[in-house]
């Protein structure tokens, strides 16, 4: 029996690059825009992070907004407020459109209010247009509730500690399907010396519980094993550590995300070829791929 499209969440990658945007010929396949992923389930629209990739999403959405009589409701969930995850927001066209209601969610555990961090990004010293120029109805919420329900979608979230300043991971579920977005976390440190470290043992267990049985896990593995030793403490994972943990957690499909700015298309192609078939056993198989801009999956 075929599954109807409207039973599925449509996941689109608008930006997959980590740290800084990297336009150019050698990055055109996987893309140079920084993180942004949209999840659409019928009329419910969720956006994960507002890296530079959100600009292209905005261009597409604004065409829909113009056609609609009723306001378009968009929910933007931020993993954290480092530049590569918020820098596209000033260029997100629906923000300048009256017929949009945009709710921005983020961690409540920052030293400053989320609203002031986002407003400061659009301070006149950095950007010529202030956030008060947004014509859309914008509300900024620091999350307290453990679970957020948006129409048919349930959004579960947890704080992540192994990233400078912290970050948040999200799980979006509906109809028994689960997508986990867990970027900007250094799993190598979390899963190191588990036997001698109770804190890490708890963190590792929480992480594995959170991602377990995910139909799609979108997760950061910015470095190769060879590169990682020089990047300890930078808040990103290495490829094999992520792949091992995801496989042990029974993840069905893994989108490796937050690509290093120095990694060309060929480099990522080679990494993918090297790892794509390693994670399958007699009983099951984990589909692994390197996320690329402009790709939409149905989950």
């Amino acid at each position: 029996m075929t599954t109807r499209k409207n039973d599925k969440m449509l996941v689109t990658f608008w930006g997959t690059r980590g740290s800084i945007s990297t336009p150019g010929r050698i990055t055109e396949k996987y893309g140079g825009n920084t993180p942004c992923v949209s999840i659409r389930f019928n009329d419910t629209q969720i956006i994960l992070d507002a890296g530079t990739g959100i600009r292209n999403l905005g261009v597409e959405l604004v065409e829909e907004i113009k056609r609609e009589d009723n306001p378009t409701l968009l929910h933007l969930f931020l993993s954290h407020t480092h530049w590569d995850h918020i820098q596209g927001l000033p260029f997100f066209l629906p923000s300048y459109h009256k017929n949009t209601k945009l709710i921005i969610y983020g961690s409540h555990r920052k030293e400053r209010f989320l609203a002031s961090i986002l407003k400061e990004q659009m301070d006149f010293d950095y950007f010529p247009v202030s956030m008060s120029s947004f014509a859309a109805d914008i509300s900024i919420r620091e999350m307290n509730d453990k679970v957020i329900q948006i129409g048919p979608l349930v959004i579960d979230w947890q704080e992540q500690v192994y990233h400078p300043g912290g970050s948040v991971r999200y799980k979006i579920s509906t109809n028994g399907n689960k997508i986990v977005y867990a970027t900007d976390v250094e799993l190598n440190r979390m899963f190191d010396n588990l036997k001698d470290n109770d804190i890490n043992e708890n963190l590792a267990r929480d992480y594995m519980n959170f991602i377990s049985d995910a139909d799609l896990l979108i997760a950061d593995a910015q470095y190769t094993e060879e590169e990682y030793p020089e990047k300890v403490g930078w808040g990103h994972s290495s490829v094999h550590v992520l792949l091992d943990i995801a496989f042990k957690s029974n993840v069905k499909q893994l989108a490796v995300f937050h690509h290093d700015p120095q990694h060309s298309d060929k480099f990522l192609d080679d990494l993918w070829m090297e790892n794509r078939s390693k994670y399958s056993s007699k009983d099951r198989k984990m589909d692994v791929f390197w996320a690329r801009e402009g790709m939409t999956l149905a989950i």
Partner: protein, 149 residues
């Protein structure tokens, strides 16, 4: 210096000796007039699908949508059991080609990943009902032989 006099200096062998380095005997590099760099070689973007079925066909892509499927109404007909009647659409916008699943039974794959939609990049391997299709994109010089009809 006018056009004709420039030409005279460059083509007259006697005058070329004037530019030679006395020690090496090699001609010094001459500065080209700026207008030399301004011209443009007309190019055209070509994209193809190479369908690796029994016929091994090459389909030239234009700007119109193309439907791939099993029936004769489709723009690209693939006669394979696992291909749906209307299986996928290839479209062109913002100077990029995309593939989109038309609710087919077996889905579409790009480089082995099952996708709903995907922007295509050169050398992507598409798979439709078990048939592999190579996407090729190239920019070539547009001269009299290559002009689009």
């Amino acid at each position: 210096m006018g056009k004709d006099s420039e030409k005279t200096i460059l083509t007259n062998e006697k005058n070329l000796n004037f530019f030679k380095d006395e020690k090496t005997g090699l001609a010094n590099t001459q500065e080209l007039p700026r207008k030399t760099f301004v011209g443009r070689i007309p190019t055209v973007q070509h994209a193809f699908l190479e369908i690796m079925d029994e016929e091994k066909r090459r389909i030239i892509l234009g700007e119109d949508d193309l439907i791939i499927g099993r029936t004769s109404e489709c723009d690209i007909q693939i006669m394979a059991n696992n291909v749906s009647r209307r299986h996928a659409r290839i479209s062109y916008s913002n100077e990029e080609y995309r593939i989109e699943d038309l609710e087919s039974t077996n889905g579409i794959y790009v480089n082995g990943v099952k996708v709903e939609r995907c922007v295509l990049r050169k050398h992507d391997v598409l798979e439709i009902g078990g048939i592999k299709i190579l996407f090729i994109e190239e920019k070539i010089r547009q001269d009299n032989d290559n002009k689009k009809e």
